[in-house]
Symmetry: C2
Subunit: 441 residues, 2 copies
């Protein structure tokens, strides 16, 4: 690809993508200065060529809508490989939680930068994040040029004082994000899960979300144990409890959803919830059941895909994740035709964008210019019978060449500005975190 | 990385790898002119530096033994994405077999070249291949510089005339490979599966393998149906039938092995068979059960990993496959500690090399210089707490920088000589194959 220029990464410029495959045809895409798709056309369009400040020659690449990752804990990238292959409870109590107890805002900033690098490299332009020190996560997302819905993980374990502090943290994040006035960055309420948040906490989150018109991001039925305990404690299944507390809406993103039964799938469908399937995490932690994708889809829910955090995956590569999704659904549900390539592709484009409220997730006039170029001069796209099949089943992030978010070029010809420094800082931060934990005993 | 030179790809030169992590320590690796590892040492070793014709600066990369892919049908790379998301029997009878009926030797040559490109890019240096026109596959392997065990897929369906022609094809491949006199290329007998080959065919293959001291490569218990039919037809389980026909030895590589019961695992262990786990293919085709890895290991078998062919995967990326293996084992066998990273790593290094008889699969003095450099200045290796964990759970083939097989540099700084032309030819060949099939009606 040619015509590159350091300034191409600046944003705010008109860009013409030529020599790309767009919506199945060879053509061009014009991106205007406001970051919207002006028009797409077959051929090169000499008229547009004279208007554009930058021309990117796609060299036959597939232009696809940018991908979305609807469930992660971005800054946990700092914990990648810190502890694996342990029993879940031992892993959490001996390794993950003691380390997280020493996390600072600076750590979250560096970890989120690292996460953005990974996500951009796999063609991700938007993500849904739950963690702590989210003002620092917002700073990283702002600087990296991605889109994100950010929430503070709200956990009260039924304790009123704890609940009050979580409410304050949530309100502070709302004010902070509002003050940033960056349409690429939104906040959500983040009631962690039905088993870690009281009814009062769940209800407060749902009411705050409705009042402020923001998303609600929650873990739902990841393990069989939590479902059993919910029924014992509340006399209801987890999705029923969420309905009662007002937590099911079309701005709700529910991660995992492995152990939902048919009636719960119907509930999520009724309210237009967006489930986030997290296959790699569910497999690595031996969760025992895959999200009932087809039931949720048939019920009217909006199934999407997430990587979960790096400590249970151990990366944020959405192209790897989508293959896990398409294959795990077939394997677990014993069907060689469930979640075909085109539906898996929808999960990471149109459905994901809909879930997060970031445009249609399609390449069409007037849509945000969230566009990824996938190289076709690579083995994973040879031969190129079916671009969507290749993207889902064959390609990895090494085929991702260029990533554009709201018209701003985040990666071009495999280069992300500042990457080397970001990786260096993230590595230093990670080892410093471990040192602080060890110093504290 | 520096000091590159076009001639670095020639082979037959001494090479010093400096600034790499080898067996957990920063150091250097000297490769002599015969393609063997001379020695490894900490630091740079100025003495060796003056001897080496080429110096490769690993820039902190992890030096790992090259990976092995113990079950594939390499030339099926031409069928990548040609048909997906169909019911198995319809897919085979309407799509795959009609296309394969038009395959030529030239197709297999081009498809195997394409497959080698993919495998080299994920750090694979050796593979175990079953297909047709294997003299042409051998030509591609020879030129690409990889190692392979090649077999003609032997299918008689109980027909004596068919068996005679398969015997002739197997004998011809033996003579052809012997005539090549290339220690990187071996032949095996390839009885396709217990359900496609008669007892007589199985017995002939086992006897030929023993007489010529070559491997035997077979599909075993991929689906539940074939196990049931074997018991109905032969009154024995598939592994028992193979034992009776002499097909179980320590030179046997058995692909899939999903539906083996405990007694069959013991049988494979008793004879030191190398099972080849093919998780992506088993998941995509909704096979319903994962290979009983732990039972096979405990019984004394030598579990390894394979990608299967591109029509059921749809790529040959062993780093993607190894993550599928480590996660599928945990998920299916409901254990968060089964197949930990270090054992998964053994599957694609030492166990794979042992299965195919290509050295120890370790970086040690006197071993073949089958070495892969994995970059550490990339997100998937940030932070670098645990190199093996990162290789198995986090890294994709985009982290693979340099691949060396028997001392010959096959890829350096992400460049494989001739790749562009090979991909172009493979693409033309694939579309020509489809055209020939369509012309024939």
């Amino acid at each position: 690809m040619t015509n590159e220029d350091p300034d191409i990464f600046g944003g705010g410029s008109s860009v013409l993508l030529v020599n790309v495959i767009v919506n199945g045809k060879k053509g061009s895409i014009y991106i205007d200065e406001s970051g919207k798709i002006g028009e797409t056309c077959e051929g090169t369009n000499a008229g547009l060529k004279s208007e554009a400040e930058f021309i990117i020659d796609g060299n036959g690449a597939i232009a696809t809508p940018g991908f979305t990752n609807t469930h992660t804990h971005a800054a946990m990238s700092l914990l990648r490989g810190y502890a694996d292959d342990m029993h879940l409870q031992q892993w959490l109590s001996e390794k993950i939680w003691p380390l997280e107890a020493h996390l600072t805002g600076e750590d979250v900033y560096r970890g989120t930068e690292l996460a953005c690098i990974e996500m951009i490299r796999s063609g991700t332009i938007a993500f849904n994040d739950m963690y702590f020190f989210m003002d620092q996560a917002a700073k990283a997302v702002d600087e990296m040029g991605m889109k994100a819905v950010l929430c503070h993980g709200f956990i009260d374990f039924g304790d009123e004082a704890k609940r009050e502090s979580e409410i304050k943290a949530t309100e502070a994040l709302y004010s902070h994000v509002k003050g940033m006035n960056n349409p690429r960055i939104k906040m959500a309420t983040g009631p962690h899960a039905p088993y870690t948040v009281s009814r009062e906490g769940l209800t407060w989150c749902s009411e705050f979300s409705k009042e402020k018109d923001v998303h609600l991001h929650i873990h739902l039925s990841e393990t069989e144990t939590e479902v059993k305990e919910c029924i014992e404690q509340h006399g209801k299944k987890p999705a029923e409890l969420l309905e009662e507390c007002g937590c099911l809406t079309n701005k709700t993103i529910a991660a995992h959803c492995c152990w939902l039964d048919d009636a719960e799938c119907e509930l999520l469908g009724k309210y237009g919830v967006s489930p986030s399937h997290n296959p790699a995490s569910n497999m690595k932690l031996a969760g025992g059941r895959a999200m009932p994708y087809q039931k949720l889809l048939d019920a009217g829910a909006n199934p999407t895909l997430g990587t979960d955090g790096c400590s249970s995956n151990n990366n944020l590569d959405i192209l790897e994740e989508v293959k896990f999704a398409a294959l795990l659904q077939k394997f677990f549900w014993n069907s060689d035709t469930v979640l075909p390539a085109n539906e898996a592709y929808d999960m990471i484009t149109s459905a994901g964008a809909k879930a997060l409220g970031f445009g249609p997730g399609r390449i069409e006039k007037g849509a945000p210019a969230d566009i990824v170029l996938i190289r076709t001069d690579v083995a994973c796209n040879t031969p190129l019978y079916n671009p969507v099949s290749n993207i889902i089943y064959s390609c990895g992030s090494n085929a991702v060449d260029t990533v554009i978010c709201d018209g701003r070029v985040l990666m071009h010809e495999n280069t992300i500005p500042g990457e080397e420094e970001i990786l260096k800082k993230a590595s230093e931060t990670a080892f410093d975190l471990v040192r602080r934990k060890e110093d504290a005993g």
